[in-house]
Symmetry: C2
Subunit: 137 residues, 2 copies
């Protein structure tokens, strides 16, 4: 069977997890506070999950969106479950700014420039604390 | 105020609608059965909706995914709420095949070839009937 990257231990820092879901922070130098919400078990499509798990997973995604929106205040937030290369459920949650390297295109489109972003440690901590606090309730 | 395309009457065929949500079928010659689920009112982010509307909208998205999965049987289904150009909530629901023009990249990535897809009228009808039947319950 072909190896699945998402079934391996994550290479990115785990911000929060429980027995079903895991949030990692993607170390993308161009996109600070870019998170990925992963379903831990190998399942392909959102509609392969039962309704409870599916809606619980969406609540995790929306908690991450809220945290990013409240503390990082991007111009737009992108949510995407693609998985063509890794057909194992995972959601990209990406803060977008009008000044970023791809705006207004998707982050998978051709890059217009190559600039790094910088988020303060304080903002990142606030985002991560909000996520943990709200998901551990 | 800048004109919002999503606030206008849809240019694509409306497959189903109620007083809050609308499903249109994108006439993309390369992607048959590519649907967009739109929140009718102009709202920017998913987390700007109240929780009921947010979860109701996700159920509409997942009904479209189920219909595509059952009757068109793509290799993968992509879900995305981006809205960088049109910051008005809408979800792309895109059936992907290993033979399609962008696979395994996103449909917003550079196109590898330019081929049209063809879905039978029967399959399309089955998808649309499933959507209406399940959302009108």
């Amino acid at each position: 069977m072909k190896k699945c990257d998402l079934c391996d231990d994550p290479i990115f820092p785990v911000v929060w997890k429980n027995n079903k879901f895991r949030i990692v922070e993607i170390n993308d130098p161009s996109y600070s506070a870019y998170y990925r919400v992963e379903y831990i078990e190998h399942v392909k499509e959102m509609t392969d999950l039962d309704e409870n798990d599916r809606m619980e997973l969406m609540k995790v995604v929306f908690t991450v969106e809220t945290a990013i929106k409240n503390f990082y205040k991007p111009d737009k937030i992108n949510l995407a479950s693609l998985g063509n290369l890794s057909p194992h459920i995972h959601w990209h949650v990406v803060p977008r700014f009008k000044t970023d390297n791809h705006f207004p295109e998707s982050i998978w489109s051709a890059q217009k420039k190559f600039e790094k972003t910088n988020i303060s440690t304080q903002t990142k901590n606030k985002i991560n604390q909000f996520i943990s606090k709200n998901l551990n309730k």
